[in-house]
Amino acid sequence: MTQSNSPSKEEIEKYLFHELISSEREKIEEQLFEDNDFFYEVLLLEDDLVDLYVIGKLEGDQLARFENSLQASPERREKVASAQALQRRIAELAEEKRVVAGALEFSPWKRLPTFIGLRSPLFQYAVAGLFILLIVGIVFLLVERRQLNQEIARLNENQRSEEDRRQERMLQERIQASQDREEEVKRQLETERGETKAAREQVQLATSEREKVERELEELRRKRGSPIELVPTAIAQVYLQPYASGRRGSIKEKVLGSDTRGLAMSLELEAGSELTTPISVEINGKKEPIDVELHNLSSRIWLASISVAPRRLADGMNKIILKNADNDEIGSYRLIIKRR
């Protein structure tokens, strides 16, 4: 079949509505197989009829014919149902777009030019002036915000430095404590040669502890990449042996800085003391509510660890006494305090 004798739209509709006689149907079907364009023309016409039916645009005779055709075409009924779903989807999308467009329409930025345009020239100048002020304000706020961000960054940096310093202080305190212990044990070695083996072990222990902490400190400094200023120790440490008149080193001197928050004391107890707990602390004749921790340093040597607030200590000579639960003295110590 050529283009010249191609079926008309009316004939195609009749074909789709099952209104043609057999020979006429044959003619259309023949062209459907021979002519792809014609095939798609029929397809599209059917789709259009279905869509118009779905949106209620088919009227009168055409509507009746279409509905009649549905009786003869189960596939078209499916098509109508699917087209209804498709149109529902399209309508929902259109609604979504409308809502978004509406939101933009009510946006202050969108309304501003109209708003200005509706006013007198004087009012327009005023609004324009306000607008400029607003822009200047925004710029100022942006600059301010940038400066604040820089300030926050600087403060963060300082906080990090403070953290580094605190860590270094702690390590220095540990070094100091190790050095004290090392010194005391060395001295003990000199005075108590009978106990050389245990004391040597203590020396080695204290030395290795000190070296370990020094390495940690070195590592901290290395990681940080630059040396930092050493700051005064906030917690001071001291190692005391029981006081004995004429005994070398049994009186110690400690300088406390203005920022010293506490003095950690390691007190060597009298050998052979009865260690009944709780152990009480007297400073300059006054019983102080201080916790005491006991450590067994060797078979002979026990240490009591206490932490004392600087205000409890007098400038100059201080007398510290430890007593057991039976109120027996288990250690008496002398410490000279000096303050910067």
């Binding site: 079907e29 197989f33 869509d51 949106i55 189960p74 499916e78 699917s82």
Partner: protein
Amino acid sequence: MPEPRENLFEGRLSGVAFEKLLSALDSDRERAGEKYEKLHFKLRKFFAWKGCHSARIDALADDTLDRVAKNLAEGTIIENVNSYIRGVAKRVWLEQLKKPHEESLEEDPPDIATPETPAEEDKRYECLDRCLATLAPDDCELILGYYDAKENEKNKDKRKSLAERFGKSSGALKVQATRLRDRMERCITICLDAWNKV
């Protein structure tokens, strides 16, 4: 390229028969595959316009092409493939009319006064959504734009501008849209069928 189907009617469709059919459609295998798909689509619409049920039209189109392939493999000389296929399709249609269980117009007049229930509509809508999601974004946009019936009523040039935007002629866009719609409708039918079987 379509896969050869087997066991669809009276015995097995051999690979040789399928190759014969493709060769008869076009000497180039890729183009032959495209022509096969178009023929299958055309046959489905042919059976639909004859009043066959949507659930049956796929099987009838398969049956038709399998018979043509088998005849080719048995040595039948075909001068006009399109005309020959139409003849076989008509025979297939007449045969299925005679089968008592077939869901044909004559034997099982539909009741169009029974619209889908809201639950059925929702199922179909859900299936539509799923099927649209299987399309490429451009295809999805095309089908939603091309079949926006209300918008097309208002703006007669809408499809033309859509064609320009997709860089296609109006004819090419029309073909693509109808094929996409058919694909979507088939997808919905399969989806609903699967849903109803659950």
